[in-house]
């Protein structure tokens, strides 16, 4: 028992130190009406030293953040089973938990620095095991391993694949009184943990975006005093400048097959959409219009592009068909619709929608043409959709500062990710990681 206490204490310490390291903290502001109670028992650790991470704590946090689960507090648990034969359903029925997750982590003897996590999910009311699984990986990626467990549990219980084992990019701006601002392009886990600064600059950094395989990113940086698009490999940090044209070089967007990048250039006059073949660097002009055409984004099938244009007098979303070259307007509600991003289902389009004087995030259903506003704050922008299509990450203002926030695509769940310092903006949710 003493040993368990010691382990637990050290786990707690670890959590605290990790929380201190995270740049973003999470505040859930709205969940579903009746979140499902679930007990995630701390996982046991067998191996030298202490566990590399409080895995159950990470899973707990993921499920709570989804707004669809109400994890049971550890103090309320009447037992700490780690194996199926140690589970007594009445203990969990007594505290009103519908589901129970237990698990064990151990160091892999055959691969140094790797761990293996086994877990089982129980339906307390039906008194049966409903799912079991195993995840392996390096101990340094223990949080990612925990996110993968959470993904599996989430999928088992909701029918929708989880998107916790994903990452995000964002730009934070630190104001320096009497000096120039710091712009930092940061990579973090989907829960804001483990932030890594990928680029630090005294000049603006904008429009970060992911390659479809999650191995590269692209962004716009003003570091050469004019905007240019850069591509960066995450594993090595290797960077290359893709564009250096007169005028605008902006809004890069990778095609679903990863071979082409859509972008906005104004080298031939007004801003228009171009495609760059990434192998040959050859450019193809997509739109030719004296209006502003910008913010291209691909439909998941790669056959058409959505973009924002004010060719109708006010910014609205249009679709460009690659084959027919037809341009068709998609948004008709409201005087301002911009910055579209499409879910993997090819049906939900999240965008910035102006209603009265507020700029909100809304979701447009391409099949019915209906627009559903998701947020009610004043200045919401830069929506980015999770690879499972369930949540939208966006930038907003809260208490006078730029923060990130998230909302479910059906509007049911909301949470904020305020930064510890500075303003945070332009989130980009990664695709599923390999």
């Amino acid at each position: 028992m003493n040993r368990t206490h010691a382990v637990f204490a050290s786990l707690l310490l670890l959590v605290c130190s990790l929380a201190a390291r995270a740049e973003l903290v999470i505040e859930i502001t709205q969940g579903v009406d009746n979140p499902t109670p679930i007990a995630v028992v701390p996982f046991t650790w067998s191996g030298a030293g202490t566990a590399p991470e409080d895995l159950a704590g990470v899973i707990d946090g993921d499920l709570a953040r989804s707004g669809q689960f109400d994890p049971v507090g550890r103090a309320d648990m009447l037992g700490r089973p780690s194996k199926p034969d140690e589970v007594f359903y009445r203990d969990w029925r007594a505290i009103g938990s519908d589901y129970l997750l237990i698990g064990r982590a151990r160091a892999l003897p055959e691969v140094v620095g790797h761990i293996q996590v086994e877990y089982e999910l129980f339906d307390v009311n039906r008194q049966m095991m409903v799912y079991s699984g195993m995840v392996k990986g390096p101990a340094s990626e223990a949080r990612m391993i925990a996110h993968r467990v959470a993904d599996a549990v989430y999928e088992k219980l909701t029918g929708i694949p989880g998107a916790f084992a994903t990452r995000m990019l964002y730009v934070s701006v630190t104001r320096v009184p009497g000096g120039k601002d710091y712009f930092r392009l940061t990579l973090a886990d989907s829960d804001g943990a483990r932030p890594i600064v990928l680029l630090e600059s005294r000049e603006p950094v904008l429009a970060p975006t992911w390659s479809p395989d999650g191995k590269h990113i692209a962004y716009v940086s003003f570091e050469t005093t004019r905007p240019a698009i850069y591509r960066q490999e995450l594993a090595t940090g290797k960077r290359e400048q893709l564009t250096n044209f007169r005028g605008l070089n902006g809004a890069p967007a990778w095609s679903p097959d990863g071979n082409t990048m859509a972008m906005v250039l104004s080298k031939d006059g007004s801003p228009d959409i171009y495609l760059m073949d990434l192998a040959t660097r050859r450019l193809t002009r997509v739109t030719t219009h004296y209006a502003i055409d910008t913010e291209p984004t691909w439909m998941p099938d790669g056959r058409s592009l959505l973009f924002t244009s004010d060719r109708g007098g006010k910014p609205q979303i249009y679709r460009y068909d690659m084959r027919s070259r037809d341009v068709q307007r998609l948004t008709f509600e409201g005087s301002y619709n911009a910055r579209a991003r499409v879910a993997q289902n090819g049906r939900d389009v999240v965008l910035v929608h102006q209603k009265d004087s507020d700029f909100n995030i809304a979701v447009l259903d391409l099949e019915t043409g209906r627009m559903l506003p998701l947020t009610t704050t004043e200045l919401d922008e830069s929506p980015s959709i999770a690879p499972n299509g369930s949540m939208v990450l966006y930038a907003t203002k809260h208490a006078g500062r730029g923060i990130l926030a998230a909302v479910a695509v059906n509007g049911s769940v909301k949470f904020r990710l305020p930064a510890r310092e500075g303003d945070v903006r332009e989130p980009a949710w990664s695709p599923y990681m390999p």
């Binding site: 003003f222 905007p227 005028g247 209006a291 903006r425």
Partner: protein
């Protein structure tokens, strides 16, 4: 506030273009970035200043290198050999007057300048008209779809009625009985004693015949007359229901009259077999009126109250919610 809005609003583009923000664009036309940059370059040379207007209004500082890191701990790339301190190209916001003069830059004559101005005005006018055309085309398409949908709804109702009556094989009452089960209605009816009054049946059949014949505009006054003649008739609730349906088929639909007809049926004949359908229709009418919440209340009520007794209408309500909420 507005500046920071502009700054972030359109991700890549706006920050790069400053005054090119969409909100400002309508007034400002287009900015030639190169010309703008050149102008700033000149201004800088003239004043000997290092940096022109900083977007955040802070003083320029000496150069800082830009560093980039991989995910691996070791920083790999170092970019920005050029001094980023010279942030000349970061556009200062607010110089919305730039476009005309910049675009007309090399042209000395004022005629050419006014020509450029006229072209810009024309472009904006065309854009505005283009938007109007897009919106009206969309509205037309929506209206066409709606009226087609209304027609299909009614058609389905009629044809399903015909099919059912053929199956039931009850000779003379056939056209009436099927879509609205009159036998049921009679039993549940308030004080109508279960049998039709003299002349009632033929009057009702006459009105209903107009519905079957798709003469909807004539069917409405026929049912109204029927209700005047037989206010307590056995088929009165059916007539209310049909009126509710028929008001929806008008072009444009008379939503308020339809709502009243369904509400009347519900309040006067609460036990009538068409009440669940009437509740569902009330939900639909409220939705068409734009009262999403009110509509949802009716639909939820249908699902809650008739979950076991009337699965057909519950399914309709559920489908409607799935489609629209």
């Amino acid at each position: 506030m507005f500046d920071s809005r502009k700054l972030i609003l359109l991700c890549g583009l706006v920050v790069m273009t400053g005054p090119l923000s969409f909100t400002a664009q309508a007034q400002s036309g287009y900015v030639d970035l190169e010309a703008e940059a050149a102008a700033r370059e000149a201004a800088r040379a003239a004043t000997g200043e290092g940096v022109p207007a900083d977007p955040y209004g802070v003083q320029p500082t000496p150069s800082y290198p830009v560093t980039s890191y991989g995910v691996n701990p070791a920083p790999i790339a170092t970019a920005g050999t050029q001094s980023p301190g010279a942030s000349g190209n970061y556009p200062a916001s607010g110089n919305a007057s730039a476009p005309v003069s910049a675009a007309a830059g090399p042209a000395s004559g004022s005629n050419l300048g006014s020509l450029v101005l006229q072209i810009q005005q024309l472009q904006q006018e065309v854009m505005r008209l283009n938007g109007k055309v897009e919106e009206q085309a969309h509205e037309l398409r929506t209206l066409q779809e709606q009226s087609l949908q209304r027609y299909r709804d009614l058609d389905k109702r009629l044809s399903s009625g015909a099919g059912a009556s053929a199956a039931s094989g009850s000779g003379s009452a056939a056209p009436v009985a099927a879509p609205i089960p009159v036998a049921n209605a009679g039993a549940a009816n308030r004080g109508s004693g279960g049998s039709a009054q003299p002349g009632e049946k033929s009057a009702y059949d006459g009105a209903y015949g107009l519905v079957v014949g798709r003469q909807f505009d004539r069917a409405i006054p026929a049912f109204q007359q029927f209700l005047r003649d037989f206010p307590d008739g056995k088929y009165a609730p059916n007539a209310h229901y049909w009126l509710g349906e028929l008001y929806l088929v008008l072009d444009p639909p008379d939503l308020e009259s339809s709502r009243q007809a369904f509400a009347l049926l519900i309040s006067q004949y609460p036990d009538h077999s068409k009440v669940p359908d009437a509740f569902f229709k009330l939900g639909k009418v409220q939705f068409m009126k734009g009262n999403r919440e009110k509509a949802r209340e009716y639909l939820d009520l249908v699902i809650e109250q008739y979950g076991s007794s009337n699965p057909t209408v519950v399914k309709l309500a559920q489908d409607f919610i799935a489609e629209n909420y």
